[in-house]
Subunit: 384 residues, 2 copies
């Protein structure tokens, strides 16, 4: 039996998600928005019976068994952790910091019977599912290099907000780069142990953001990851990622894996491959023929991936009679909160590298930092 | 009147160059090869009246006024410097080290009336000539990012040789990267002041190179250059270059410049552009329709560029009655020996960066290093 759903957020993802959920048979019972007005407006548009601007009203809603959180990164941790504490299943977007991600991991570990997954849709896109399968089967031989490029128009909102602020989780690296960091660990079966990066904010002001306000989030980002794998085939893989969001009117989403005996390239939602020795590329998986609405803010790979993710959620829940129970199988490859912490750690290491100019190690937090740490350090300094 | 030409080298470039020279009306009088046999064989094939394996025989040949040097990097400096000393005009490929390049610069400065240019053909390719013109005219607005990628099959020769050896000037960075470093300074009008890079040799042995022999030259290279320009528009440009020569059966040669109001992309020999606000890319310069022979080892942009370079040389020389005199105009944008030293300095900085993991400064040699420097240091160390 499918669980009742509560949705947090009134942005473009929430707007696309609700119809997809309904199409799969989920009932969406409640919607939260930052203001009464925003919530009311979107609830009416999408036909959701209940709306509110108070988070507890959704979290404690009797008919809500699954909470989908698509709100600014800085608010995610609080809602996600609380939802798990109340016994609800959670699908959510990334948090703003590694400390927040760590708190989410702690909560997820504490309630292992609840579904807790990051909404990284790329892992569900058929092109990447097929790509991973082919990599496992040895299509490219020993993996050597992954090369990813995503080009597109500005990620900034119409008005000044978190998307402009690096510290609030804005910027190409945090918003888009994080989905790619996750994807590359999914594809290679390995994690980055050292990273190097360069971030730039070329457009610091525009027609809407001016005066004393300045954009601090990156619109160009370029990073390398050296993967240290568990298996021999994935250790030593070099990943390079180029993100450029100063290219209005374009959208490029290309993920290439080059190995010793061939290569695979996903362009948008299509997958191509070429084995060494063959004359040309072969189309391995064509366009899925997306028939849903086109969404300006949401590139097709994310849109199609979101649709596939919702299908997987339906399969996961429908196996059980009890509304809150779910089967691991259909969502086994989803991004876990642990993966989310890894991704956030890499994002922060890339930012550190961009400041230091040096390769930075990816060290995943194993305990929560002491909130008095800075204070203690200051006291220590004063003593000496 | 066109000068008589002497050619050094029996490789693929020399083989293509001679017919191009003849087609423009140059007479090729002499050919040098490393062995009598190689020289004889190619001279017969190309119809060159004189061949030898002794360099002086070409350099001192009465009818030779222009010397074209296409030999392994480690031998280039010696021939180029000697040719200038004998009063011959010189077109040559890159040297192996910055010290060699510096010696060539010294010679070129000493004989300013002689033509001395590096044979970087990309500066002559119509797509890049047009691209530079459009950049100057402000097509992209303020330049932000240059993104270059070149993918192709292995650069290694059939048998073990200098192409396998990093110290002999082999590898993707030295062979292909150097032409791109030069091209980017031509396009942006700026030079790199800091670089960061990563080199890898994924294929260290193959069917032909085995046993105790190992390839040390890079087959994957990835570097960033921060440009510090003379003009305000080119300072602060980030250049990223990805080279991958583990992709048999493919050839990608893409140079993109992104600016504040638009972008330009050269794919192969074609030039495309898109201004912000326009719906799609426009073709600015189509394929030149190369009608000459296809050369497996030589990608089309280099082949077409070589053809254009030979045309420019013809224009430069035909303006004058005297066989050795030339006009600066047609070859004014060619890569000078000074540019060659800059390129070599960047190449070495990228290699240093790949070892150190840090950003390295590009500091161009202003005097020849003392050959006893290492000895002195050793003595110094012993004293302490």
């Amino acid at each position: 039996m499918l669980p009742g759903v509560g949705v947090f957020g009134t942005g473009s993802t929430a707007r696309v998600l609700v119809p997809l959920l309904k199409a799969e048979g989920f009932e969406v019972h409640a919607l939260w928005g930052r203001s009464e007005e925003e919530a009311c407006c979107l609830a009416k548009e999408l036909g959701i019976p209940f709306h509110t601007s108070r988070s507890d009203d959704v979290l404690l809603h009797q008919d809500v068994d699954l909470v989908c959180i698509y709100i600014p990164p800085s608010m995610t941790r609080q809602i996600a952790v609380k939802a798990l504490g109340i016994g609800k299943n959670v699908v959510c977007e990334k948090a703003a910091t590694a400390v927040d991600s760590f708190k989410m991991v702690t909560a997820a570990r504490y309630y292992p019977q609840l579904l807790s997954m990051m909404g990284n849709t790329l892992r569900f896109l058929p092109a990447f599912v097929a790509m991973r399968q082919l990599l496992v089967e040895g299509y490219v031989g020993e993996m050597q290099v992954c090369d990813v490029r995503v080009y597109g128009p500005s990620l900034l909102d119409q008005s000044y907000g978190w998307t402009c602020e690096e510290l609030m989780g804005g910027g190409g690296l945090h918003t888009v780069g994080s989905t790619l960091i996750d994807l590359l660990s999914y594809l290679t079966g390995a994690r980055a142990h050292r990273v190097h990066g360069l971030l730039r904010t070329f457009v610091q002001q525009n027609g809407l953001i001016r005066g004393i306000r300045r954009v601090t989030s990156d619109d160009f980002c370029f990073f390398q990851m050296l993967m240290g794998g568990t298996g021999s085939s994935s250790s030593g893989v070099c990943c390079t990622v180029t993100l450029n969001f100063n290219m209005p009117g374009s959208f490029v989403h290309e993920v290439m894996v080059v190995g010793s005996t061939g290569r695979l390239v996903a362009r948008g939602t299509e997958l191509y491959g070429q084995r060494n020795g063959s004359k040309g590329e072969e189309l391995l998986l064509g366009d899925s023929g997306w028939v849903g609405p086109e969404v300006k803010e949401m590139p097709l790979p994310h849109l199609c991936g979101l649709s596939s993710m919702v299908k997987a959620l339906r399969q996961s829940f429908q196996a059980h009679e009890e509304r809150r129970s779910w089967a691991r199988g259909p969502v086994a490859t989803a991004t876990t909160f642990e993966d989310g912490l890894y991704v956030q750690t890499v994002v922060e290491a890339v930012k550190r590298s961009s400041c230091s100019g040096e390769w930075e190690c990816v060290e995943i937090m194993s305990q929560e930092p002491d909130p008095n740490h800075n204070l203690c350090e200051a006291l220590q300094r004063n003593k000496n």
